[in-house]
Amino acid sequence: MSKIAVYVDHFGDKVAAASWEALTAAQTLAQGLGGEVIAVVLGHQVDALAQEAARRGPAQVLMADDPALDGYVPDAYADTLMALSQAHDIAVWVFPTTMRGRELAGLTAAGLDVGALPDVTELRVEGGNIVAVRPVYAGKLLAKVETAPPAVVTTRVRAFPAAEAGDAAAPIVRVEAQVDATGQSVQSLGFSQAAQGVSLTEASIIVSGGRGVANTNKVPGDEKAKAQKGFEMLGELARLLGGALGASRAAVDAGFISYDHQVGQTGKVVSPDLYIACGISGAIQHLAGMRTSKVIVAINTDPEAPIFKVARYGVVADLWDIVPELIEVIKARGLAKNA
């Protein structure tokens, strides 16, 4: 019986939660196409990850545990997935649309010479075809796309509910890594500077700052010094709420904060439950990255700012007056998720 395989994306010992969302999407495909869902875990010393995957509902977990797979090695990973496709009769691969997920999905689809449906938000089976909906033109339009299996699908982060962990554990089967013996492929030389905190795309709460963050007389110094203090304050609010810190491109371009934090058409596309935009005007390229957030709060001194057109709650005021009070209220009411 052919299988639907889910790639479990992780870095070090932390699984990208979107992998469990991909598992849910895979179950939908299995119901429509027939066949069972399996999870695939690659890496070094990934026993615990494989065990976690085993409790989230797959029929089986394939695990390649090899020092040569330590960290993330794109070619060795892609080659291993290719080998598994054949050996385990995998009809459809489902990846979460994380950085690594997208890269491996592309390499796998190309290597297998099959069609790919990237970054889908809905998925079903019609007449034996995989039919999906995906946002295009930065979410301004929705495209229905379809392909026949064998195929590769990637699921947009936070578009599907995560498969819950249960008590029953699926069997874990060890498989071989495909490691390049000739040294002709891409080799990883190592990693540096691990980023900290909650990942922006996976966060359920995001506090974002724009150029307005630098606009205050409450702290001394030049614009950059003010902005740095401002982003520290927004970061504190994000941390208390268990969320992540975002920014507009104007804030990134001005050097207030690093590009990893940029939300928008040329940054990250996010869809949290709560998005708090502070001192962001709401340019169309910014909205493209956050307009599907469930609840948007805008804090802006300009009542005409376009951000208020997508916001559910608006505060026309100086963010430097409001944010410190929000921090105090959240602490005082015991709503802080982190001390």
């Binding site: 390499l107 970054d119 339009l141 796309v145 379809e146 030389l189 057109k309």
Partner: protein, 259 residues
């Protein structure tokens, strides 16, 4: 060294995109070089400035693709080719990649292909991987720097972000890469560059020129629609003091079950 940059023309990021009679329209908004491809052109120019060689751009598309090609030429690319064939009307990403791979082979002696991260119309970001596999070349995604680029030794190292950390990779040449925004701000074309680009004759290749049959699309796009309008009416939170506003806002967020 010779670097090829595949470029795509797209509606401007500020365009209002709509579907009318099942077709995508963007009013009188201009068509521009895909913003992500600007970074790839910039990176390629920097590499040949350092190591010698030329940058060539290639675009699969109708005459509108000239907008993208001319911008890249104005920035400093020396060669360009456009690929157009009626048989490519329903090409999917995989088919486009096969065409690009054939073009790279035909151009000859290509050391590297620098892609943009994704095209802001289809937003797929998969053309680069398909092209790499079609060429049988290694692939490195989202490069922010090349600490080493050694065309004579046929190898390079690349730095890129994997989200949680920065990764350094080594790969042999020729190779396919995508360039990330962190690489460098794209330059503005010079006045001379713009003049030269506006006069450039851009050759057009057909599938026959590439020795290809019409590639069959595996992915179909039967329908494209406008997303349902989100009926949000902003509720302004007011109060005598910032504290009062903060209290009220927190009440609302608890009510909306997001805190």
């Amino acid at each position: 060294m010779k670097i090829v940059v595949p470029v795509k023309v797209v509606p401007d990021t500020a365009a209002t995109i709509k579907v009318e009679d099942g077709r995508v329209t963007w009013g009188d908004a201009p068509l521009v070089l895909n913003p992500w491809d600007e970074f790839a052109v910039e990176a390629a120019l920097q590499m040949v400035e350092k190591h010698g060689g030329t940058v060539a751009v290639v675009s699969v598309g109708d005459e509108h693709a000239l907008e993208a090609i001319r911008k890249a030429l104005a920035m400093g690319a020396k060669e360009a080719v456009r690929i157009h064939d009626p048989a490519l009307a329903h090409a999917d990403v995989r088919a486009t990649a096969q065409v690009l791979a054939a073009a790279v082979r035909k151009m000859g002696d290509v050391d590297m292909v620098f892609f943009g991260r994704q095209a802001i119309d289809g937003d797929t970001g998969l053309t680069p991987m398909y092209t790499a596999r079609a060429l049988g070349w290694p692939f490195v995604g989202l490069v922010s720097a090349f600490p080493e680029m050694d065309p004579a030794g046929r190898t390079f190292t690349a730095e890129r972000s994997v989200g949680e950390a920065k990764q350094t990779l080594r790969a042999p040449m020729p190779a396919v890469v995508t360039i990330a925004k962190e690489f460098a701000e794209p330059r503005y074309p010079s006045f001379m560059g713009i003049r030269k680009a506006s006069r450039a004759k851009v050759p057009v290749w057909s599938l026959a020129d590439l020795g290809l049959d019409a590639p069959a699309a595996k992915v179909r796009w039967p329908e494209i629609t406008m997303p349902p309008k989100r009926e949000v009416k902003v509720e302004f939170i007011e109060g005598e003091t910032p504290r009062e506003i903060a209290e009220k806002l927190v009440d609302k967020l608890i009510e909306a079950k997001v805190l």
